[in-house]
């Protein structure tokens, strides 16, 4: 299953960052940072607070420009795009924001259908059906469709905005803290959802997360950010053996060990 979705392009790079530097005034967030994300992989960005994960994500989705360096997403250099090309690129990208980013004035169904209504000429009934299906895909009750974001619980909000990110069947999905604030059962649901999306749709997924379970169970490769650079990239098992201090820091502590132990149990 995994192989068919990835045949022949295991190494095709869909996001390529070269020499990216970002500064907020005096504070240096990224210093000459390089990073590659390959097609159909689940890629995680981790790092302490203030290590520039969110900034990096924003730079990949055209919300912010780096002070230096190039960012290439799906083969296009973000620095050289005109407005039309930006729109074309953004249609191929889905983003799940940390706090959902659902529009408060629209109900869930309208929120999910909005990208389709804006960008395609599909009829309303079809859009509603697709929205309902996407909602079901993320594990929400059909009745949720008629609710407004203010009426949803945290977990439901996350799932609904997941459904909106998937509305246009993007090739590339960005997830900012997909499991933050979710109960363990919902978080496990997100694990499955992410894996299913990659296996079924061949999606490339880039996520920021601190959820060690998600990292161990789902992520193919993990990049640890620190001191403005990528400290290490690799699978969790590889990173666990790393001796770089900033990487070690991440694995130290009871929580890290517990997740690691659990991983060992599930694999053996």
């Amino acid at each position: 299953m995994e192989n068919t979705a990835r045949t022949g392009q295991r190494n095709e790079v869909v996001i390529e960052l070269r020499g990216v530097s970002t500064r907020y005034g005096e504070r240096v967030v990224h210093e000459n940072l390089d990073l590659d994300v390959r097609r159909a992989e689940i890629f995680a960005l981790v790092g302490g607070s203030g290590s520039g994960k969110s900034t990096l994500l924003r730079e990949m989705i055209l919300l912010q420009r780096p002070d230096a360096g190039t960012v290439r997403v799906l083969g296009v250099d973000l620095g050289s795009l005109n407005e039309r090309e930006q729109h074309a690129l953004l249609k191929r990208i889905g983003v799940l924001f940390q706090h959902g980013g659902l529009f408060g004035s629209l109900n869930v169904r309208e929120n999910i259908g909005l990208p389709l209504r804006e960008h395609t000429r599909l009829n309303d009934e079809l859009i509603d059906r697709i929205a309902a299906w996407k909602l079901a895909l993320t594990g929400l009750e059909p009745a949720t469709a008629a609710l407004y974001p203010s009426e949803l619980s945290g977990g439901m909000l996350k799932r609904a905005s997941f459904a909106r990110a998937l509305a246009l069947d993007p090739e590339l999905l960005f997830l900012d803290e997909p499991t933050a604030g979710l109960d363990p059962a919902s978080a496990a649901g997100v694990d499955q959802l992410v894996t299913m999306l990659r296996d079924t749709f061949g999606l490339t997924i880039v996520m920021i997360t601190h959820d060690l379970d998600l990292l161990w169970q789902v992520a193919d490769r993990v990049a640890v950010l620190g001191d403005g650079r990528v400290q290490a990239v690799g699978s969790m098992a590889e990173l666990a053996g790393s001796d770089r201090p900033l990487v070690r820091q991440f694995f130290e502590g009871a929580r890290g060990r517990a997740a690691q132990a659990q991983q060992a149990l599930t694999t053996h």
Binding site: Q9, G104, N123, A145, S150, D169
Partner: protein, 450 residues
Amino acid sequence: MPHIRRGAFVLALDNRFDSGTSTLLWQQYPDAHGSRDPFLVNNGARSPVRMRAFAGARLSLISEMPAVAAMPDHRQAMSSCLSAAPAAVAPLPDGLALSGCWTAFGISPLDRELDKVATGGAQAMAIDGTRVEALDTVGVWVLQYLLQRLRDEGVTTTLRGWRPEFERLIDLIEDSPPPPLTPAPQRRRLERIGRSVGAALEQLYALLSFVGESALALAAGIAHPARIRWRTILHNVQSAGVAALPIVGLLSFLLGIVVAYQGADQLRRYGANIYVADLVGLSMLREFAPLITAIIAAGRSGSAYAAQIGTMTVTEEIDAMRTLGIAPLDVLVLPKIIALMIALPLLTVYADICGVAGGMLMAQAKLGVGYAEFLDRFVNAVQPSTYLIGIGKAPVFAIIIAVVGCFQGFRTHGGADSVGRQTTRSVVHATFLVIVADALFSIVFSILDL
């Protein structure tokens, strides 16, 4: 037509094809049929474009180009289409041939045309997906819709030649039962009226409870003055009073000018120039100064109270306060009410002075009434009671503004958008109630003959 090797790219200098040509190509080169994307067109653009992108025109030149390894792997993710070939349906002897991009973007033109696809009386139809370039969930939905319609007409359908990953996606969607569409609840007019009346009554009741609770807290504060937070009160006096001096001063000064200017013409006509002092004095001291000050306070301070308390509600600071055993009313509401009750009368006095000064300036410029003359007349015309009535309204206005602002802040629920809504509401309600109260004062004073 030239022979095309398996895996070779077709270069078309004039990138015009029609669907007939492409079908012909498929038939001529069965070799190519097995490979996934045998035909690529390079129309001079940097990226290769598949031939089927150019349905609708004629192919004029084909030449062969070796398959170049340097070309990027052109198989994109399933949902993406390298070309912009729209989804299309063409009849086959034994069924239908689908082609193009069956994606959200590629399918739009086809959406309504599917109804026209005819069965031709066939009992069984094969749906050939060999030439479908891309498929996403929207495409599958439309496909399902087509299949369902054919089945309804008594035709057995089979899928043929779909890529394995497409088949998986089709299965995935087929397996999941179509979720019911739950319509947004439609409310009848009567129900809507009922609900809004209910909401208004509920709000009124809540406001009254809030006033009651604040009064109790105030009484408790008076009974135990040590509990009153004087430092917070002084801080609030500073922000609601001192900081408002420039805007209150400027606006009432301008108001004084306007009143004198409007009266000047009429007074001059009757040679009653000196009565400008009566006009400015009475109207400013009794009505305009308290009112303009209250309206500015509602806009500046009332909204700030609502926004502050609203934000604290959203960020659960109010709940935290309650669990820590601190009464939000004592900390947040009482100091604001007391501070505004101190600040607003003082601001009104200041507004009186500025307004009269504005009137004086205008009286001299337009009517030739000197400052000394003006003040002389002013003292005779304006009774201390007029001044006191104006000042006396201010604390009442202050209570209205502070209570409404705080009340709307506490009514915040949900997210940040609610803060904005409650803040707006606090200004509108406070201004409305201040003017209503002013009207009531006028009625009461006229009955009392003041």
